[in-house]
């Protein structure tokens, strides 16, 4: 009877932990969306709201960590129960970092709004949408313990890396065209990098869901994508240089 009571209490605690993750995931999704909107619409007020809301995610992480450590200490879970608690710890850390990337993008959107508009900014919403979809999918996969959905989201990170790499090259050419584009384009590059990193955290969550459900790490080489790190882009030959034979 007492044991049964303990099991029930533990199940309730696990459910509460799982709900906290879902709520936190919702906030992280909303932050990414708002940050991307702030960039696209040059909306400084919205950016300010994103910066203010970031502490919510820190608070969620603290709460989940506290709860998880308490459960480990008091309930001493094993097997899938232990994996549940560890998964909550990991996912909350990934969501908190995702929020940091959204907040940094919002910060940069405030600088961008004071600078001339540049065309490649339009690629940011595309990257943002993809990140949001990945985030939504891995969170749904977490709620439904759906490994296939998690793995599908994991594979989409390649698409995101490709978007990032082509944006990177495009942005460099804009910078070369006109020095007034350099500062806004630099902020755009970092915003794009933030989104690419947020995508990495979504894939981390997919890996955690896989481990939670299957009890084994997700293996198989996903081609790691950021090809931009190797990029060598040269400007058009300057007018004052001989064009060659």
């Amino acid at each position: 009877m007492a044991a049964e009571h303990t099991v029930k209490a533990f199940e309730q605690e696990l459910r509460r932990l799982s709900n906290l993750i879902s709520q936190m995931g919702g906030v992280a999704e909303a932050q990414v969306e708002a940050a991307v909107q702030a960039v696209a619409r040059r909306d400084v007020d919205l950016a300010g709201r994103v910066l203010q809301a970031d502490s919510q995610l820190d608070e969620y992480e603290r709460q989940i960590e506290q709860e998880a450590v308490r459960m480990l200490a008091l309930r001493q879970p094993m097997g899938v129960d232990l994996r549940e608690v560890l998964a909550a710890l990991k996912i909350s850390a990934d969501l908190e970092r995702t929020g940091d990337y959204a907040a940094n993008s919002a910060k940069r959107s405030i600088a961008l709004a004071q600078l001339p508009a540049v065309r490649p900014a339009s690629a940011i919403p595309r990257m943002g949408r993809l990140v949001q979809e990945m985030l939504k999918d891995v969170l749904d996969a977490y709620v439904d313990r759906d490994v296939e959905k998690a793995v599908a989201a994991w594979h989409r990170d390649e698409e995101l890396d490709d978007l990032y790499t082509s944006l990177f090259r495009e942005v460099l050419t804009y910078m070369m065209e006109d020095p007034r584009n350099i500062t806004p384009c630099t902020h755009l590059l970092f915003i794009a990098k933030n989104l690419e990193r947020a995508g990495d955290h979504a894939t981390n969550i997919a890996e955690t869901v896989h481990f939670l459900v299957v009890g084994q790490p997700l293996t198989g080489a996903r081609p790691k994508g950021d090809k931009s790190s190797f990029a060598v882009v040269a400007p058009e030959p300057a007018a004052d240089l001989p064009a060659g034979p």
Copy 2:
């Protein structure tokens, strides 16, 4: 007798876990140092070795995670013992990320070596040294359970953020001076950002050491430094524009 044996075995396991962290920390430090050297000396071979060695850190993380989860399941530790195991999990994740930043910087140094040398590259070793010092200090603090040392390292992150912010502004002016600087300078910006992020992970480790020893989170607002996200840098008025009255 059996209980005493269990306690002793657990203590041995904790010591092994702690040693693994120290070893992993040594590899992470070496990776940061080598990556910075590869940038400074345009040493493509060294960069290649950094990229190859990165999998060691992944392997350490996997091993530490496996060991920690096994200890949580079998030993069901409480109090400071539980914090020991959780700290190992967290620190290994931070070291693994630090290694990722070193590897990405090494990748970029390969691109840089194919491009004209740019002056602000000299600020990178300064940032690199600071990151290494912070990393060394927090790892020493971990080994010695030295909270004061951890907090001192934590505070140095501000210095790193200041170095990063001034490098950021300097690099933008170089880009504006000559479009041929744009690609190398962009890689430099990301390398500097990588080092700034590695510093953030060192501060995470400091916080973990604090929690491990004191049992309470490290509070007190450390002014979060990346002021470059707000930077608005304008080029000199272009020669083809009227200079104004």
